[in-house]
C-alpha cells in the first residue's frame, strides 16, 4: 500500500519537474520580443477604448505608436495634454500641446421652444425618426431628442433634458463618438476656449425658422454688424463665428434677438 502511494507521488513529481524545466527553457528560447514601451504607453493611456485616436482601442494605439513610424503622440483626446506628454517621454519625442475639445450640441430647440408637427410612434431612435419627416419637431435640422448620442457616449456626459441632448462639459472626454452618432450632424467638437457659439443649424429663411422654433437663428445679421472684431458672418441664413478672430467679448450673445448665440463655459 505504501509503495503505491509513494510511486504515484514520485512519478507525478518527476513529470511535473520535467515539464517545468521544458517550459522554462521554451519560454527563454522561444520568447517573442515585445517592446516594453507598448506596455508603458498602454498604462499611460486612459483605457476607455473609445477609438477617437483612429486605432482599435488603447492597445491598438500603443502598438501603432511603437510599430507604425509617424503616428503622432497627441491623438488621444480623452488623455489630453498630460497623456501626450507622457507618451512623448516614453517615445523620446516632443509632443505638441493639443487644446482640449468638447462636444457641443448646436441646438436649443427643446420641447417648449420647438413647435410639434406630428406624433411619432415608430422606433424611438434618432436614426429611425430622421427617416420619418425628421421626427416630431417642426425643425428638420435640430436635435431629434431620442438620444442616439447618449447611447454612444462612453462617459455618460450627455443627458436628455426636455427632449434636447445636453453635454456636461466637465465629463466630456473629447472622443467624438456622439458626433458620429447624430444623424442630423448637429454635434461638433469645439475648442474649450471658445467664448460664444451659434447654437442653431437651420438654414431656412428667418420667417420660416421663427414659426418653428423660439431659439432659431433668423439670420437678422445683427451680430455680424455689431461684432467689434468682425468675426461673425452670415452664410446660408445662419450666423457663423470665426473663432480665430473672436476676442471673446461676448457681445453677440448679449444682443442676439432669439438667443441662438450663447456664451459657452466649456473649461473643466
Amino acid at each position: 500500500m505504501d509503495n503505491i502511494i509513494l510511486f504515484a507521488v514520485t512519478s507525478v513529481t518527476v513529470i511535473g519537474a520535467v515539464c517545468a524545466a521544458m517550459l522554462c527553457i521554451a519560454s527563454k528560447a522561444m520568447a517573442v520580443k515585445v517592446d516594453e514601451r507598448i506596455a508603458k504607453i498602454e498604462a499611460a493611456l486612459p483605457g476607455s477604448n473609445c477609438g477617437a485616436c483612429g486605432f482599435p482601442g488603447c492597445g491598438g494605439y500603443a502598438d501603432a505608436l511603437v510599430n507604425l513610424p509617424g503616428t503622432k503622440p497627441n491623438l488621444c483626446p480623452p488623455g489630453g495634454a498630460a497623456v501626450a506628454e507622457q507618451i512623448g517621454e516614453i517615445m523620446g519625442t516632443k509632443a505638441e500641446a493639443l487644446e482640449r475639445t468638447v462636444a457641443v450640441v448646436r441646438c436649443l430647440g427643446d420641447r417648449d421652444a420647438l413647435q410639434k408637427k406630428m406624433d411619432y410612434t415608430g422606433i424611438p431612435t434618432c436614426y429611425a425618426a430622421k427617416e420619418m419627416f425628421s421626427g416630431e419637431g417642426a425643425c428638420a435640422f435640430g436635435c431629434l431628442g431620442y438620444g442616439d448620442c447618449l447611447l454612444a457616449c462612453p462617459n455618460e456626459a450627455i443627458h436628455l433634458h426636455n427632449g434636447l441632448a445636453r453635454v456636461i462639459p466637465s465629463l466630456c472626454i473629447s472622443c467624438g463618438l456622439c458626433v458620429k452618432a447624430c444623424p442630423n450632424h448637429i454635434i461638433s467638437m469645439e475648442k474649450e476656449s471658445i467664448a460664444t457659439e451659434v447654437l442653431c443649424n437651420n438654414i431656412e429663411k428667418g420667417a420660416v425658422v421663427r414659426k418653428k422654433c423660439g431659439f432659431g437663428c433668423i439670420a437678422c445679421r445683427k451680430c455680424a454688424k455689431e461684432c467689434p472684431a468682425d468675426a461673425i458672418a452670415v452664410e446660408d441664413n445662419l450666423a457663423v463665428i470665426d473663432h480665430d478672430k473672436c476676442t471673446a467679448c461676448g457681445h453677440c450673445a448679449e444682443i442676439c434677438i432669439t438667443h441662438s448665440i450663447q456664451k459657452m463655459a466649456l473649461k473643466q
Binding site: K117, M118, T121, G122, I123, Y127, A128, E131, M132, F133, S134, A140
Partner: protein, 430 residues
C-alpha cells in the same frame, strides 16, 4: 404549383363602385421634379412663365428619369424645395392656376411605327409605375436583346386595402388598358400577356375578359384576394411559377410586370398626345366624410381632395399617402398629389393603433407569412446590433416592404420600419 397565399387583410374597398369625379381646378399646384425612381427632372421653365395643360415643365435627366408636365394652365409662381414623402427636400415647380385649363397647342399624338419610337413615346408621356413604385416605364420596357420575353404581366391585383383607383381604370378606362396591352404585344412581342386581377373585382375581370378573349396570347388570371398578390415577385410566381433570383430582375426569368393604370396612360398618350397630367386618387378612410374616387391634377394639395370629399372628421389622427400597408404617413395636408399617389387615407383616432410594442415572443408568424420567405424577427435582432454581416446573411435586401410582418405581429413590433432602415443601413455600408 402552390401559390403564395399571403394573408387576409380587410379589403375595405368602399369606393369600388364609385366612378371617379374630377375635382375643381386647384388654385395652386406643386409639381416635384422627382415623382419617380431615378434622377429628378430638370426644370425648363422660369418663374413668371405662362404654362398650359400638358406643357413640359421638367425635362427628364437621362433614361432613368421621367419628364414632368404642367397639370394646370397658369403662371409659374416659384421654383422651391418642398418636403417629399419621407420629409426629404425635393425641388418643385409651383404653378398658380388661372382656372381656364387651356390645353397646350403643341400636343400631337406621336408617330409610333417601331419599338424605338414606342419606347420614346412612353418616355415622353411622363409615365412611371403608377402602382406606387414610380419606376420609369420606358426604362422598364427597355429589355436587352438577349432576354427572351415570355410574359408581360399587367398588374391589376390592387391588393392593398381601400385603394380602388386601378379597379376603376380597368372598368372605366378598359379600352385604354386593352389598347395599351395590344401596343405591348405588338412592339415587345412577348409570348403571352396576362392581366392578373384579384377575384374581389368581378366587374374588372368581366370587362377585361370580354376584350382579352378576342386576341390570341392574352388572358386574364384570376388571383386570390389576399395580400400581397400585387407585389411584383409574388405576382410573377403566382402567374408563371417562376422565382426571381436574389438580386435579379424580373427580366431574368423572362417577365415584365406593369401596372394597369400605367398601361392605360401611355395608350391614351399615343392616341391623343396628352401626357400624364392627372390621375385617379382614392380618397377614403374612417375620418373622411364621403369617400370618393377623384380625378385630381398632379400637384394638387391633398387637403383640397379631402375638402372635395366632404372634409375630415374632427377625430382624424393619421393621414396616409398610398395604401395602409405600404403607404407613408404624412404630417400635413399640404403635400401634393404625386404620379404615384393612388390613394390618400385619413384614419380616425379609434382606428389608429396606439399600443406600445412589447417583447418578441418568437411566435414565427412573420416568418410564416413573409412572401419572400425572410425571417423578420431575426432581421430585427441584427438591425438592433447594427450587424451588417448578419443583415446580409438574412437577405434583408430581398424584402419587398409589404408590411405583412408588422401587420401580423402580436407583439406590435415595428417590423416594417426595421426592414426599411435595415435596407438603408445595408446600402450605406456598401
Amino acid at each position: 404549383m402552390k401559390k403564395i397565399k399571403g394573408l387576409h387583410a380587410p379589403h375595405c374597398k368602399n369606393t369600388a363602385e364609385m366612378v371617379p369625379v374630377a375635382i375643381p381646378t386647384p388654385a395652386v399646384v406643386t409639381l416635384p421634379m422627382k415623382m419617380h425612381a431615378g434622377k429628378p427632372a430638370i426644370p425648363v421653365v422660369k418663374v413668371g412663365d405662362q404654362v398650359k395643360v400638358g406643357q413640359l415643365v421638367g425635362e427628364a435627366d437621362g433614361r432613368i428619369s421621367a419628364p414632368v408636365h404642367s397639370s394646370v394652365s397658369g403662371t409659374v409662381k416659384s421654383i422651391d424645395e418642398i418636403d417629399g414623402l419621407i420629409g426629404e427636400k425635393r425641388k418643385s415647380i409651383v404653378i398658380a392656376s388661372d382656372g381656364e385649363q387651356a390645353v397646350y397647342e403643341g400636343l400631337t399624338p406621336p408617330i409610333v411605327t417601331n419599338l424605338e419610337e414606342f419606347l420614346d413615346a412612353v418616355h415622353a408621356s411622363g409615365v412611371v409605375g403608377l402602382g406606387g413604385a414610380g419606376y420609369p416605364t420606358a426604362h422598364k420596357l427597355t429589355v436587352k436583346e438577349s432576354v427572351q420575353l415570355d410574359y408581360i404581366i399587367i398588374n391589376g391585383a390592387e391588393c392593398e386595402p381601400y385603394i380602388t383607383s386601378d379597379t376603376r381604370a380597368m372598368v372605366d378606362d378598359a379600352d385604354n388598358v386593352f389598347e395599351g396591352a395590344l401596343l405591348l404585344k405588338e412592339y415587345l412581342k412577348p409570348k403571352k400577356i396576362v392581366i392578373g386581377i384579384e377575384n374581389n373585382k368581378p366587374e374588372a375581370i368581366k370587362e377585361m375578359r370580354e376584350r382579352m378573349a378576342t386576341v390570341d396570347g392574352m388572358e386574364v388570371c384570376e388571383l386570390p384576394a389576399r395580400y400581397p398578390q400585387g407585389e411584383r415577385k409574388v405576382l410573377v410566381y403566382n402567374v408563371t411559377g417562376r422565382i426571381v433570383p436574389e438580386g435579379g430582375r424580373l427580366t431574368d426569368v423572362g417577365c415584365i410586370v406593369i401596372n394597369c393604370t400605367t398601361v392605360a396612360v401611355f395608350a391614351h398618350y399615343i392616341k391623343t398626345g396628352m401626357p400624364l397630367v392627372s390621375r385617379v386618387v382614392t380618397v377614403d378612410g374612417s375620418a373622411v366624410n364621403t369617400p370618393k374616387n377623384v380625378i385630381a391634377p398632379l400637384g394638387t394639395p391633398i387637403g383640397e381632395l379631402f375638402d372635395f370629399c366632404g372634409g375630415l372628421k374632427d377625430d382624424v389622427k393619421k393621414i396616409i399617402m398610398g395604401g395602409p400597408m405600404m403607404g407613408a404617413a404624412v404630417p400635413n395636408t399640404d403635400l401634393p398629389v404625386l404620379k404615384i399617389t393612388n390613394a390618400i387615407l385619413a384614419i380616425s383616432e379609434k382606428d389608429v393603433e396606439a399600443s406600445k410594442p412589447t417583447a418578441c415572443i418568437k411566435c414565427g408568424r412573420c416568418t410564416a407569412k413573409c412572401p419572400m420567405r425572410l425571417m423578420p424577427s431575426h432581421i430585427e435582432d441584427a438591425f438592433e446590433l447594427k450587424n451588417i454581416d448578419l443583415l446580409k446573411k438574412y437577405k434583408v435586401n430581398m424584402c419587398a416592404e409589404c408590411s405583412c410582418c408588422a401587420f401580423l405581429c402580436p407583439a406590435r413590433r415595428p417590423l416594417s420600419q426595421v426592414m426599411v432602415l435595415s435596407k438603408k443601413m445595408l446600402w450605406e455600408a456598401k
